[in-house]
């Protein structure tokens, strides 16, 4: 128990730094895409430090206790989300046996909590811009929930007949989605991956789905009234979410470790270094997913309208993911018995 707590603490701190770094990488790559040099990689860290020193203004129209507790709740819940998703994988890499398996449906709901906290905070600020932003965020949440649910259910479905709990994150390491997949399964998996990658920017409120924070329409929307520390918490929440969500995509679709893929292991002076190399590999996967799913998409697209987003997710993306689900259900090889 104590070990788990210690690991959780270390991982929170590491996750914080990595999350901020991920955002730094995102900004850097985006700058390169735009033919600029871009800020230093540690820029998000500087921003956070600066915000910590700044005054925190609470508008009089705000419901004070809600306004100031919302970012804290968002931060805490996103940190928990990160731990919840990552711990099974880390344990798996370090080959620690544990009962902490993680449950995909819990993840599905935990993703909601930071957003709900933010929406509540925005509503409580009393600013009409924030209120419109929060309404939009709710619409986006509602419309992406269905595709995510379909993805998670189809991923679970392929493992439904295995002995393991199909919703457990840890069973994905044993039975990755592509395990035994036939042609149908691979096709379905690709569709699901596509859907999930498009869900990523919507969860993270990035262009083309950043209606809730649309700078030119709503003057930063949800976070318009936040300043100082509370704003820093919001940015940290964002960092945690960035890491957690790309981690989720990695786990759902590419849980393979190097040793699984190539059967290699790393030794040095008689100690095994495999877990550490695996972690580096994991970070590599996360960066690739993030820079493709978020950075690339956000630089090549314009912001859509909220009605377009709702239609896009509720119909197009849901349809795509349901086709993926059906394909996986049709694939005879996917039934592991």
């Amino acid at each position: 128990m104590i070990m788990i707590l210690a690991i959780a603490l270390i991982m929170t701190i590491v996750g914080l730094i990595l999350g901020l770094l991920l955002k730094g990488i995102d900004r850097k790559i985006a700058a390169y895409f735009q033919s600029r040099i871009g800020p230093p990689l540690l820029q998000p860290v500087y921003d956070i430090i600066k915000l910590m020193y700044k005054q925190t203004i609470i508008p009089v129209t705000a419901v004070r206790w809600l306004f100031s507790s919302a970012p804290v709740i968002a931060l805490a819940s996103s940190a928990l989300l990160l731990l919840y998703i990552t711990i099974p994988y880390i344990f798996y890499i370090f080959e620690i046996n544990t009962t902490l398996q993680g449950d995909l449906i819990v993840v599905l709901y935990c993703i909601l909590i930071p957003s709900i906290a933010m929406v509540t905070g925005a509503f409580s600020s009393g600013s009409p811009y924030a209120a419109i932003g929060a309404q939009r965020e709710m619409v986006i949440l509602m419309s992406i929930e269905l595709p995510i649910a379909v993805v998670i259910i189809s991923v679970a479905w392929h493992a439904a007949d295995s002995m393991a709990d199909p919703f457990a994150i840890s069973s994905l390491f044993e039975y990755p989605l592509w395990h035994n997949a036939g042609a149908f399964g691979v096709l379905g998996g690709i569709l699901l991956f596509f859907a999930m990658v498009l869900v990523l920017p919507a969860e993270m409120s990035r262009v083309p789905f950043d209606q809730a924070e649309a700078e030119t329409e709503l003057a930063e929307g949800i976070s318009v009234e936040y300043s100082g520390k509370l704003l820093a918490f919001i940015l940290l929440t964002d960092a945690f979410k960035a890491l957690a969500l790309s981690m989720l995509v990695v786990i759902l679709f590419f849980p393979y470790t190097l040793s699984q893929l190539f059967g290699i292991s790393f030794q040095m002076y008689g100690h095994t270094l495999t877990p550490f190399v695996e972690i580096v590999f994991l970070l590599f996967k996360i960066i690739v997913i993030y820079s493709f799913g978020i950075t690339f998409i956000r630089v090549v697209m314009a912001r859509l309208k909220i009605s377009q987003v709702a239609r896009f997710f509720l119909f197009a993306i849901t349809a795509i993911s349901i086709i993926g689900l059906i394909l996986i259900m049709l694939d005879p090889n996917m039934r592991i018995i």
Binding site: A31, Y46, K54
Partner: protein, 159 residues
């Protein structure tokens, strides 16, 4: 049913909390700027935007334009302050959390410049707010604006 939101810029500064010993140093590596046009001719405004463009890329110094004064560290003011916008600039200034800097971009903001005889002016900005850096030019080149920011860092360093 019609809802009336009271204008949300009423703020009560006493309710805010901040580190008493103001440490400006931390602003240096990440200056978030809020740009406000107080009656300029737009030339300075487009030069500010040009500063953020790939050619000059102010973001590499951590400078970022933000959409809400509450997120800002620097207030970039362009243009001479007209009577009608005077209240607004004061309000915006109030909404910027401390510590904060004010930079005037362009000559007409600093002194009224070419509009000096106008009846519609509420005076140069420094009669209304403490101003930290003046960037003369009509309009200043983007490089001159970046130089102004570098000047601001220098000032922060000394504090």
């Amino acid at each position: 049913m019609v809802y009336y939101y009271r204008c949300y810029n009423v703020i009560d500064n006493n309710r805010g909390t901040y580190v008493k010993k103001i440490n400006y140093k931390h602003l240096k590596r990440s200056l978030w700027a809020y740009h406000m046009n107080t009656g300029s001719c737009n030339a300075c405004d487009i030069e500010i935007l040009a500063t953020l463009m790939p050619r000059y890329d102010a973001e590499r110094f951590g400078i970022k334009l933000v959409g809400s004064p509450r997120h800002a560290d620097v207030l970039l003011v362009t243009g001479t302050v007209t009577e009608k916008i005077k209240d607004k600039i004061l309000q915006v200034y109030q909404q910027v959390p401390k510590p904060k800097l004010v930079m005037i971009i362009g000559s007409c903001g600093a002194t009224k410049g070419v509009f000096h005889e106008s009846y519609a002016m509420a005076g140069p900005l420094d009669t209304l707010l403490p101003v930290d850096v003046y960037v003369p030019g009509c309009p200043p080149r983007p490089e001159a604006i970046i130089y102004g920011v570098a000047k601001a860092w220098e000032k922060l360093e000394e504090l």
